[in-house]
Amino acid sequence: MRARIELPGPPTRGNRRLAERIDLEPDEILRAANVHKRFGQTDVLRGIDCVVRKGEVVVLIGPSGAGKSTFLRCMNGLEHFHAGDINFGGVHLSDPTTDIRRVRSDIGMVFQRFNLFTHRTAIENVVEGPIYVRRTPRAEAMRKGMQILEKVGLAHKAKSYPGQLSGGEQQRVGIARALAMDPKMILFDEPTSSLDPELVGEVLAVMRQLSREGMTMVIVTHQMDFAREIADRVVFIDAGAVIEEGDPRTVFSSPKSGRTQAFLARVLVH
């Protein structure tokens, strides 16, 4: 018989010790502290610390496999993390008694591959959350849904199925679907990377508009020019940890860390 050896390490779901808890400053909407996550044997997040203030646009950059998507998905509980805490609006995601669905309903998510409900029209996609999560009466949800589609320039495509829309239009419906929930924050995971180059602009335009209106956004992107333009703060993640962060001008033009410099040198080939 094999002896069970208790390894020191972060608490797991099964034997969660007193969870670490982190509090928010008044101007913050989300704070992540010491977030650890592993898939099997691989440590994907190794103690991430990160803050998102209200109305702020935070852009996560970093090499492929750094853990950007994983971290983003931890923020709305699509991934479970093993240690540390994420506080969203005063709610601790590390607390097993937290109603994670409440958190999710307040955080919009825009996916790289759009993930629109293919069996529903654009407007049906937009009102799905309000009706089946928020329990908004259908008529009211439809009215608001049409206004939101109008805002992303797609009112005329309300009755189209995702398969009948271009990639750029689908992604704008994706953003409308997130907006329809009146989110406190929206997460974007490479929202333009599966788009043809000529369709990228229309999606970025909508995101710029949201930023102007003061929407809190966390964006993962490989488009450095857009990151520099839209970000209030850039966070460089490598190998599951935050290496460097700051306002985009500083990070892009005079990065402190050697790893950031190397990464930027690779992606900013002119």
Binding site: F117, H119, Y161
Partner: protein, 220 residues
């Protein structure tokens, strides 16, 4: 030389019609039992609990390993032997046929549910839906579209296999045909007529299935 005398069947047309009615009755109710048990078995196999998955797997495996004819007889006589309750032949027929097809259809349902794109369910989860809601609003509609054609095919086989219930002395189409042969000695004509009726039902069903498939494609 065998002289064909299809006109000899004419007086027995009402009998064939009644047999057709019984065949349809058995088939439709067996389909309902099949869908219900198939769904339950599929959910059991998809569950997280070995206490559900293992028995479901064993049950499906057993049912699929037994010939339908044997299963029908086994249920008809077996139930009364072991429980002392005499079930009507029609009940054994509907139950046996239904559970037999349920075992096959459960695999279709399971595959259909597993085939639903993860991005679809994830988008619903990210909106804050409960697991039940995600299932109802996303998984089910997608799975329904994938399983409809194979389930229609199962129904076509089921209608044909329902001829086996004649061994339980149920007056279905096949049984009535046998009766007509006994009365008229026109075996070839009677079986030709029955074959054509089965063929007509299955053809109607497959045309219907093709139409459904087209409609589903268009809706995407």
């Amino acid at each position: 030389m065998y002289d064909l005398h299809f006109e000899a069947l004419v007086p027995y047309a009402p009998l064939l019609l009644r047999g057709l009615g019984v065949t349809l009755y058995v088939s439709v109710f067996a389909l309902l039992v099949g869908i219900l048990s198939g769904l339950l078995l599929a959910f059991a196999r998809l569950s997280r609990f070995p206490l559900l998955t293992v028995p479901a797997y064993l049950f499906i495996d057993f049912i699929r390993g037994v010939p339908l004819l044997v299963l029908l007889i086994f249920i008809y006589y077996g139930v009364s032997i072991f429980t002392g309750i005499n079930i009507p032949a029609i009940g054994a027929a509907v139950g046996g046929l239904g559970i037999f097809y349920g075992a096959y259809m459960s695999e279709i349902f399971r595959a259909g549910i597993l085939a639903v794109d993860k991005g679809q369910t994830e988008a619903a989860v990210a909106l804050g839906m409960t697991r039940m809601r995600v299932f109802q609003r996303v998984t089910l509609p997608h799975a329904f579209r994938t399983v409809l054609p194979p389930i229609t095919n199962s129904f076509i086989s089921l209608v044909k296999d329902s001829s086996l219930v004649s061994v339980l002395a149920i007056s279905d189409l096949t049984r009535e045909g046998q009766e007509i042969v006994v009365a008229t000695f026109r075996a070839f004509e009677a079986y030709t007529a029955i074959a054509l009726v089965y063929y007509a039902i299955t053809t109607i069903l497959s045309v219907f299935s093709t139409m459904l498939e087209r409609r589903i494609r268009r809706g995407q």
